[in-house]
């Protein structure tokens, strides 16, 4: 293991161009090789390497007892992971698509989230549930849900989602090391997006948001699949003369108030953007808590650019549903810029 670690250190030092899927694969491989209690299992994750190939090659490298296919039953995948974790292992399991995690909902909410608390901390469940989530890949019904709001409302779970390949690596490594259960949401339409980066999981912490781009006029809050869209929108807004600060939340629960509040108190305006339906979506929490903490700093209401309040559309209509650069720019326009002078700034 020392040799592997050394080789890793060398490899990590050199920036490489890597997709998010490959970065996740690397994270799993490195975790498997550095900690023999780590296991990877789920539907088609072994021989096939997963339908998105995130587990490609792992069964061959680490053997069928550490990386394996299960029978087709999500509740049992999560439930047996719980039993394994009670017995000292660290399972990182895969749900094949977002909506196919719903059969495991009872195991997730009633046990995974609560067992540590139930036993006054005696039982730890260092489990990662990887879920490819969101749309944008032309998938048919049930293959494109964004269900972060269900998990973030469940105390005891951590919910994390990467926006870039290097974060995908770092956050997954940290999620696997984390003593708490982590719902790890992988924005499937970013699986093939590339970044040239050094893979390293010690330089950032999973529960802090990151300012991806600095700006002074408006804070644009994104996560997972919408981070890239937000960056594009920020760039487009610059051409309209607006300076946009983009925050990538990374950890949806717990929420990093410090970073976001600091930004919003500087800019006075915020837009939060996600794919999930707006009503009761994660953006509601973001808007509600920021409105409360930054009330006197706000020049305009916090706007949400989110999916409509409809079931996820069929492939040919999904472009209308997904938050687009245009829709974000429209939201910027609605941030009451013209009113600024006529209103007292409420900050004391």
């Amino acid at each position: 293991m020392t040799m592997t670690a050394e080789r890793d250190a060398v490899a990590a030092a050199k920036p490489t161009s890597i997709t998010m899927a490959a970065a996740l694969n690397r994270a799993l491989a490195d975790a498997l090789s550095q900690d023999e209690t780590v296991l990877v299992f789920g539907e088609d994750v072994g021989t096939l390497g997963g339908v998105f190939r995130v587990t490609d090659g792992l069964a061959a490298t680490f053997g069928q007892s550490r990386v394996f296919d299960t029978p087709l039953a999500e509740s049992a995948i999560v439930g047996t992971a719980i039993g394994m974790a009670m017995n000292g292992l660290r399972p990182a399991v895969e749900m094949q698509f977002d909506a196919f995690a719903y059969p495991a909902f009872e195991q997730i909410t009633s046990h995974l989230a609560k067992l540590h608390n139930r036993t006054r901390g005696r039982v730890s469940l260092p489990i990662v549930i990887r879920i490819p989530y969101g749309g944008g890949i032309g998938g048919v019904e049930h293959h494109c849900d964004s269900s972060e709001a269900y998990y973030t409302h469940t105390p005891g779970l951590r919910v994390v989602t990467p926006g870039t390949p290097s974060d995908a690596y770092a956050l997954l490594r940290q999620a696997i090391e984390c003593p708490d259960p982590v719902i790890f949401l992988e924005p499937k339409r970013r699986y093939w997006s590339k970044e040239t980066a050094v893979l390293d999981h010690r330089s950032s912490t999973v529960d802090r948001a990151v300012v991806r781009r600095s700006g002074t006029d408006v804070t644009l809050i994104a996560y997972g699949g919408t981070v890239a869209t937000a960056m594009e929108a920020a760039e487009a807004a610059r051409q309209d003369g607006r300076s946009v600060e983009v925050i990538d939340l990374r950890s949806l629960s717990p929420f990093d108030d410090e970073t976001v509040v600091a930004s919003l108190r500087r800019t006075g305006r915020a837009v939060v953007v996600h794919e999930a339906s707006q009503f009761g979506g994660y953006g509601a929490e973001v808007a509600a808590r920021l409105s409360e903490q930054c009330f006197h700093y706000l020049e305009a209401p916090i706007l949400r650019v989110a999916g409509f309040d409809i079931p996820y559309p069929p492939p040919k209509l999904e472009q209308h549903h997904l938050p687009s650069v245009d829709r974000i720019l429209d939201a910027f326009d609605r941030l009451q810029w013209e009113d600024t002078s006529t209103l007292e700034r409420r900050s004391t």
Binding site: G49, L72, P315, K316, L317
Partner: protein, 378 residues
């Protein structure tokens, strides 16, 4: 040792005595061998000649439909297509055994069955084309929408069938599922509810040996999937799923018995998917081409053709006529699928609730305005 019997609690009821009637035969039941020869001493009744001919015709049409659909994925005309090639005996045999009033609960793989049931092929492909989640009206041919979340349709079928009984209607529900789907909790709950309610449901497991890449040996350690039935008190049958005559005869008998009030039936049909899981899958990652070859030798279509030809019920002309009809339909389908579908984004907001809510009306307006603005800018 009868001391448990007289006690009032029905906990001790049942007992193994009648167990056997729930268990499947050791060897899959069949009527025709792979060469189309009639097998002796089967428990199944050979379907009449006209049914066999119709089975053959529909299987040829179905296979051609299936290959056309696969071709359409290559041209980007379908978002995805899960082929049922090799499973025609199940797809067609089951559907032809249904009576008009019966219901079919298909999965994503059963487009062929849906078309055989009478659904317009373009409507059947609406889901996989990416136009809408279901393209047909379920009530026209009594076909539920194709179900994607595995095994979740099993409980729907039980509910529908039980409702029919409550209403005094003579309706049986046939639900299709795969070997992988048998591992989901819903399958178990459905079999149990059906048995307790004596609901007229036929569960048809198409055991094609794989759930995507996962082989049956990683899915179950049971002697067979049909052996699950006894755990619910559901009569179970294991059949050769590549023998169209056997599939028809078994489903037909199951439907009659379910309709007669004898409760649900579980059928495991042993078959094989010749193509990859879908066009997006790479089957070479998990199975040996030799295995596919071996199964090609057990092809359901040529098996029935051999049988019918041997019996003088089919000649080369008739075969050619059926093939040409299949070709015509495929051409027609190709033509229709090559026309870009007209989709109305406002549909996104129309069917969420029976009456549109004010919030959805507002969102629909916002989207319409956005689209207008975008078009103006062009």
């Amino acid at each position: 040792m009868t001391f448990l019997a007289p006690v009032g609690n029905d906990a001790g009821a049942g007992g193994g005595g009648e167990s056997d009637r729930f268990l499947p035969s050791e060897i899959p039941m069949a009527l025709l061998d792979p060469a189309g020869r009639v097998l002796p001493s089967s428990e199944l009744a050979m379907p009449p000649a006209d049914v066999l001919l119709e089975l053959y015709r529909q299987m040829v049409l179905g296979r051609r439909f299936d290959s056309q659909a696969t071709a359409l994925t290559k041209q980007g005309r379908l978002a995805v297509y899960p082929s049922a090639r090799g499973q025609e005996a199940c797809e067609i045999g089951a559907v032809l055994a249904l009576r008009p009033q019966d219901w079919l609960f298909p999965t994503y793989r059963d487009s062929m069955a849906i078309v055989a049931r009478g659904v317009d092929p373009v409507e059947a492909l609406t889901l996989l084309r990416g136009d809408w989640h279901c393209g047909y009206d379920p009530y026209v041919h009594n076909v539920a929408p194709q179900c994607t979340p595995l095994a979740t349709n099993t409980v729907h079928a039980v509910g529908l069938a039980h409702a029919a009984r409550i209403k005094g209607e003579d309706t049986v529900a046939l639900v299709m599922l795969g070997d992988g789907g048998t591992s989901e909790g819903d399958t178990h709950e459905a079999l149990n509810f059906a048995a307790v309610w004596k609901a007229p449901v036929v569960f048809l497991i198409q055991n094609n040996g794989y759930a995507i890449s996962v082989p049956l040996s990683k899915q179950t350690a049971a002697p067979s999937l049909a052996h699950k039935g006894i755990g619910y008190g559901v009569r179970s049958v294991k059949i050769d799923g590549n023998d169209p005559a056997a599939v028809y005869a078994t489903v037909d008998a199951a439907i009659r018995s379910a309709a007669a009030g004898d409760g649900p039936v579980l059928i495991e049909a042993i078959t094989y998917r010749i193509e990859a899981h879908t066009n997006a899958d790479d089957a070479s990652r998990y199975r040996d081409p030799a295995e596919v070859q071996a199964w090609l030798a057990r092809d359901p279509v040529s098996r029935l053709r051999a049988h019918l030809t041997e019996r003088g019920l089919l000649d080369d002309d008739a075969v050619a006529a059926i093939e040409s009809a299949a070709e015509d339909r495929a051409g027609e389908l190709r033509r229709r699928m090559n026309v870009d579908s007209e989709l109305d984004p406002a549909d996104l907001f129309r069917y969420v609730y029976a009456a549109q809510t004010p919030a959805l009306a507002r969102q629909a307006r916002e989207l319409a305005e956005e689209i207008d603005r975008a078009e103006e800018q062009r």
